[in-house]
Symmetry: C2
Subunit: 348 residues, 2 copies
């Protein structure tokens, strides 16, 4: 990796996606790596121009990159779900991003909506499965539009798919000081899938005697995120439950403007993809209001994934310092200003 | 109804269920109605004694009551999920409790874990579908225990099932001052089920021109519950999403000790069942520590459902007064004490 440039595919996408990605790239440039970005215009604009969401040729090209940085996709002018499914979810599935890694961490200086909750109480990482469950998209409708309509959705879970993400989560837990892993599911209702998840966790746990293993139903976990976030260190969960609790996690850790994520293929068989948890936010798009911090933290995750851990740490530190320097009550800075301020800290 | 006694089946169940139900019955007695309770010993004890969870003969008897009051079911000595599914969920399904009604309301004087959130910001009611979706229990496993295992769960949604609960939610919204209804789903991923829910809401909305209709994905809604709970007035959602957000709702409204619910059959074809949202809490069972307020508020819902709205209002007011009189920092009262205090307010 040291000898050649690292090739990064950049998909700014829609709405605020383009704005925040520009700042992410600024920071990436300032941190001084041999990363060479190539832009892809996927998203609503291309869809309207050509009808394409993710042409096979582009998918094939993307496969050749070392990593992908994505802003956000989705626009009110496109039928709901089309870009999400045919672009975002398709990338996650085609590139077998079976780990969707989402830190939930309260930076000192950030205001959480939770009363009396200091940063040390919110410091977990959610390992969300990224390629199965209800996201498989299987199901159907019969007698659609009639009083006898029936619509189904299927959650598909495989031993292969569950075990690999559970192992990843145990490895993560092993690398963290608290060494605790919590499975979040709904085993008392989703008995078939829950049984597979619970048995898998039990079996893999035998290989990690140092890890304290816990279980929480998704409903109880949602409550604990708010009342006792300190219960959690590493959380492993399925695709849909992970979707829900990471938005909740973003909320308690100070908002969606700070929540980073990585869609990871740990085997390296395809490029991993890093993106802020937030969406394209059409309501504030084009106004320079979006907080690029989530994207910049996703860039830090990307650097870390590429083995550039010193650079990753510098970016994370710059973000932490920027946040700590925010003065409560002062006028909010715009997208570019935040990007410039963090860039200055990275360079300086 | 005035001429004969109202027949109430009481299922205290397991753990703290028996403790909190005793207090609920005290209050019911004090409010002075012609309600005649009959106890049923369903739960872990009966399961161990006879192997039965819900014998058909008991189910048949229960059908003859005007309403059911349930404490909580579930015990560590019983395989996980057995009592939940074969007793609690079976009652909901057999009695076609298609509305699971769960108020999320912050009483003045209750500490919410959310900073700077006054009671007027948390006042919604969740109308959770109670008989379909992923709770149908369909699915299966193949090659169980092998590396090639596959486990599925199916979400079943019918026009019949969705429309009736959506109509109920619109009626609820119509009766409330804010007249707002929010559908919570995940239409961009659960496309078949989401399409049915969204089309149903759109269609029924035409009959309720005064209602402002909104939509939120479950992930965003979970975030908004914490950051902007005032967005919500009436929430209508499916069985699983409703399970999750009502626990989250209980958390923001001051805890599971205060969260009441009704499993309602609005057609009156079978008895409706009222229960606190909390579980049997084996960790604190038998210690007289559980807060019976959730059960007492469930009793208020029960009275209201039986047409005894003045009595219901008296119980709710007694609870509100009891909560307002709680002195921050003073020693916590036990289960019976809280029950006695609220009973005194109801009688006095
Ligand atoms: C846009 C949507 C399909 C996506 C998901 O549900 O995974 C998003 O909510 C996320 O969490 O990345
Ligand atoms: C005990 C369990 C089956 C139940 C549910 O999931 O509905 C509970 O969580 C609830 O919300 O009443």
């Amino acid at each position: 990796m040291e000898s050649r440039n690292i090739r990064l595919a950049v998909i700014p996408g829609d709405g605020i996606g383009t704005e925040v990605v520009a700042e992410g790239l600024k920071v990436l440039d300032a941190v001084g790596t041999k990363i060479e970005p190539t832009h892809y215009d996927l998203g609503a604009a291309r869809y309207h121009r050509t009808g394409e969401t993710l042409p096979d040729s582009v998918l094939h090209e993307l496969r050749g990159y070392d990593a992908i940085l994505l802003g956000a996709v989705g626009d009110p002018s496109v039928p709901p779900g089309v870009l999400e499914r045919d672009l975002l979810l398709r990338l996650r599935f085609e590139f077998d991003h079976y780990v969707n890694l989402r830190p939930v961490k309260l930076f000192p200086g950030v205001r959480t909506p939770l009363a009396d909750t200091p940063p040390e109480k919110i410091d977990m990482i959610v390992v969300r499965e990224g390629t199965e469950g209800l996201y498989a998209g299987t199901g159907g409708a019969m007698r659609r539009g009639t009083p006898h309509e029936i619509a189904t959705q299927e959650s598909l879970n495989t031993a292969h798919g569950v075990e690999r993400v559970v192992r990843y989560a145990f490895e993560k837990a092993q690398s963290r000081p608290r060494k605790k892993l919590t499975l979040v599911h709904k085993t008392n209702v989703l008995t078939f899938a829950g049984d597979l998840w619970q048995r898998t966790v039990n079996r893999v746990a035998a290989d990690y005697p140092e890890i304290a293993v816990d279980y929480s139903h998704i409903d109880a976990a949602s409550m604990f995120f708010v009342t006792q976030p300190e219960r959690f260190d590493v959380v492993v969960t399925d695709n849909l439950f992970g979707d829900i609790i990471t938005d909740l996690g973003a909320a308690i850790a100070g908002g969606i403007g700070l929540a980073a994520s990585g869609n990871i293929n740990p085997d390296g068989a395809a490029p991993s993809m890093f993106e802020p948890v937030h969406g394209s936010a059409p309501d504030i798009a084009g106004q320079g209001k979006a907080d690029p911090t989530a994207t910049i933290l996703s860039v830090a995750m990307l650097l870390d994934h590429l083995g550039l851990s010193a650079e990753a740490a510098r970016v994370e530190q710059a973000v932490a310092d920027d946040i700590a320097a925010r003065v409560a009550g002062s006028a909010p800075r715009g997208t570019q200003q935040i990007g410039d301020d963090i860039t200055a800290r990275v360079s300086g």
